[in-house]
Amino acid sequence: MNAFENWLSGMASHIKLVDQALTGMEGSYVELLTVLSLGLLAVLPVVIPARHRQLSRWACQVAGILIFVFIVYTCLGVFGMINNFFRGLGEIGHENIIALYFLSVPATILITSMIFGPTFCGWVCPTGAVQEFVGSLAGKWHAARRRAGYPFSWKYLGLSLGIAAVFFAWIGHLSATRIFFVEDATVYWTEILVMILLVLAWGMKPWDARLRRLRVVSFWVITLAAYAGMRVTSPVHFGFSKVYDPASILATAIVVAASLAIPRVWCRYLCPWREAIAWVGKFSTCRLETDPAKCSACGGCDDVCSVEAVSQGVIDTRECHFCLKCVDACPHGAIQIKEKW
């Protein structure tokens, strides 16, 4: 167990393309490379041709993972980014370069979401991409469950109990060797995730929409923590920092495993950035619109959406990840990207 953890953390250190953040690359700053690459990735969804779009999206997600792992310094996972945004704004006017360091990723994400729609979630986000890749292994089972209206399933319950068992065994092992602090927020969120999984075993239909509101709570808790100056860790945090962080490794493993049971489970119920992006996405110029004249309510879009943001052609912008699967899947071409200025 320890060897595995050490292997993971060893793998995570010294992998950045550039030795140190904020050191000049020929007189420039690494953070600008982040802005540049994230900006380009976020534009892609609206400019890419419709043919093989989903293939391009997967390529984009892989590129997103590579960029975040090898280039981005300032992303400490979904919680750390809120913290950084907060700190970065506070540094403007004093230490403008430090401000750039902290602001580059969150500001780029928010700005592109305001122009090109919430494309970050569907096309770039590494946490989302990992969940999607793993979740696609069970894609057919998910679609079948949804079509059946989420009946009670021993398979799902077994999977959730297995995940819970892994979580408790691992955290038992961890707590034998170390003490957890408030800063290890990721542990508490993972605990909630495990509870959500178990709740949903019996009541996916009535509880799904309610539990999604947890994202708002998650957002405010992390924002208040950032205000109070706490540095909290999140899933996949360990992948971006050189800090040895077993809590984050555990959380990542649980999130990935849980996405086998419910697709994009972290994005659905707990991701604070999803809430922030959905909020700025309301003001986006690009949006998905359904032409009611063309829509035959066949439900083809329901089947492909991994976050259940669309139902019979009606899109919930608060949940939509802009992955454009519904656009590609619609047999009548009823759903289209519209630019509204």
Partner: protein
């Protein structure tokens, strides 16, 4: 531009690019096969090919090609390294895209605001701030994101100005400016809208003056410094004393003030204007004078104080009784005034009909007039409570001990100074704000008067 010029223009731009870069290479000013230059050339060729085949938005495409050529040929004069150059190019293309959309789809004024915004950002981030050129790129992108609505642009500028010029109180400034903007932008009404809007904005700017100092203290303190205060017995007892005495004073005021207000609003008598003016007396006289006045009457060996101690054995100076006396003295006008106004709004016909239907005068007062006026009375009581809890000047003279919260702040300020008083003041602000808002919201539970909907009398 007519479509037949498209292809020649594309060819010309690419020719300029290729020729320019070769010429610069020959002169030794640039390296044509450097990675950045190759990328620029490649992307220019790709866009050119798309435009050549008539795909995509021609204006945007040709504009982007111009920008790429400009960066390829002159970029190194602006920024020496390719990375910043690339980021600058990307943001410039974004600006071009936004600008084209704004000019094509929106009225001219949006374009003007957008262009002015660009130059203002340039002045702030390049000329005014040090080392902020990369931040300039981020903020320009933000401006592009907000360009299509004045409201969003206004919020963007509030944020930008707060975080550049408002430091280190940026968060407070930003929150207050957002509040102001939200109020102004969501204002709706039928009459004289533009004038009223100007009045609203001006009034809220004044409110800024009030709220800003409060916000600095309220949000400027570290939470870690506030919690220990709640364990300090002196602070806790001061808070409890304040809450207790203010509540008692308000109760006493209610018992005497409501009947007085009712009587004054229902009767005509000689000297009524004088009585009305005298009710306001405690507002007019300075607090310290009020303290001296009370001390002169209720202090030891003073007429009323002597009488009080002889009859009941109680003393007013330095006791809870003195605190309550001072609070009642200063808070009375707030309650009586608003109770009077709300009684005047209750039609006398209602009470007459109640009497005609068999109610006693007391019944008409207690079952009809008071419930109908209850909202106004309650909001008066809330004001009186807040005034009583906040009383300082008169208390300092008549009863500096037991400490109430305002006196505790004064003592702490005298002993440890401005900065150390911060957490306590912050805590008190929180306490009074929470109490005040709780009471204000409670008033919504009371019955509303006829023709009045939730408005404070």
């Amino acid at each position: 531009m007519s479509a037949r010029w498209h292809r020649p223009l594309v060819a010309a731009v690419i020719a300029v690019h290729a020729g320019g870069i070769v010429a610069l290479g020959v002169m030794g000013l640039a390296q044509p096969f450097e990675l950045f230059n190759v990328i620029l050339m490649g992307s220019n060729l790709v866009i050119g090919a798309l435009l050549w085949r008539g795909k995509g938005d021609f204006d945007l495409g040709i504009g982007a090609m111009f920008l790429i050529v400009a960066h390829a040929l002159m970029g190194q004069r602006i920024v020496e390294d390719p990375l910043t150059g690339g980021a600058l190019l990307l943001v410039n293309i974004l600006v071009l895209y936004t600008g084209l959309k704004v000019f094509k789809c929106l009225p001219m004024r949006y374009g003007a605001v957008f262009a002015c915004g660009y130059f203002a950002l340039y002045v702030i981030f390049i000329l005014f701030l040090q080392n902020a050129s990369p931040l300039f790129l981020l903020f320009v992108a933000g401006l592009c994101a907000c360009a299509r609505r004045f409201r969003m642009t206004a919020y963007f500028w509030a944020l930008t100005l707060a975080f550049t010029f408002g430091q280190p109180y940026a968060w407070q400034t930003c929150a207050l400016m957002f509040l102001l903007l939200t109020a102004v932008f969501s204002a709706r009404g039928e009459l004289a809208a533009p004038l009223a809007l100007v009045f609203l904005a001006a009034g809220l700017a004044w409110l800024f003056l009030v709220l800003f100092p409060v916000a600095i203290v309220l949000f400027g303190e570290d939470a870690h410094n506030i919690w220990p205060l709640l364990a300090d017995p002196r602070v806790v007892s001061a808070l409890l004393t304040t809450a207790l005495t203010a509540t008692v004073s308000t109760a006493v005021l209610l018992v005497f003030g409501i009947p007085l207000a009712y009587a004054v609003s229902r009767l005509r008598f000689q000297g009524k204007p004088l009585v009305l003016a005298l009710i306001d007396l405690p507002i007019i006289i300075p607090q310290s004078v009020a303290g001296i006045v009370l001390l002169r009457a209720f202090g030891r060996q003073q007429p009323l104080g002597e009488l009080l101690s002889r009859c009941t054995g109680l003393h007013a100076d330095g006791t809870i009784l003195g605190i309550c006396l001072a609070q009642i003295f200063v808070a009375a006008p707030f309650l009586i005034k608003s109770a009077m106004i709300s009684f005047e709004n209750v039609s006398e016909d209602m009470e007459m009909s109640a009497c005609a239907l068999g109610a006693t005068p007391w019944g008409a007062f207690w079952r009809v007039a008071v419930p109908l006026a209850s909202r106004g009375i309650f909001s008066g009581a809330v004001l009186a409570w807040a005034r009583a809890a906040g009383e300082f000047g008169a208390l300092l003279l008549i009863a500096p001990t037991p400490e109430t919260a305002p006196v505790a702040v004064w003592n702490r300020f005298n002993s440890v100074g401005l900065i150390e008083t911060g957490p306590l003041v912050s805590l008190l602000l929180l306490f009074s704000l929470v109490m005040f808002f709780l009471l204000q919201f409670t008033s919504r539970l009371l019955p509303a008067q006829f023709g009045q909907t939730g408005r404070l009398a």
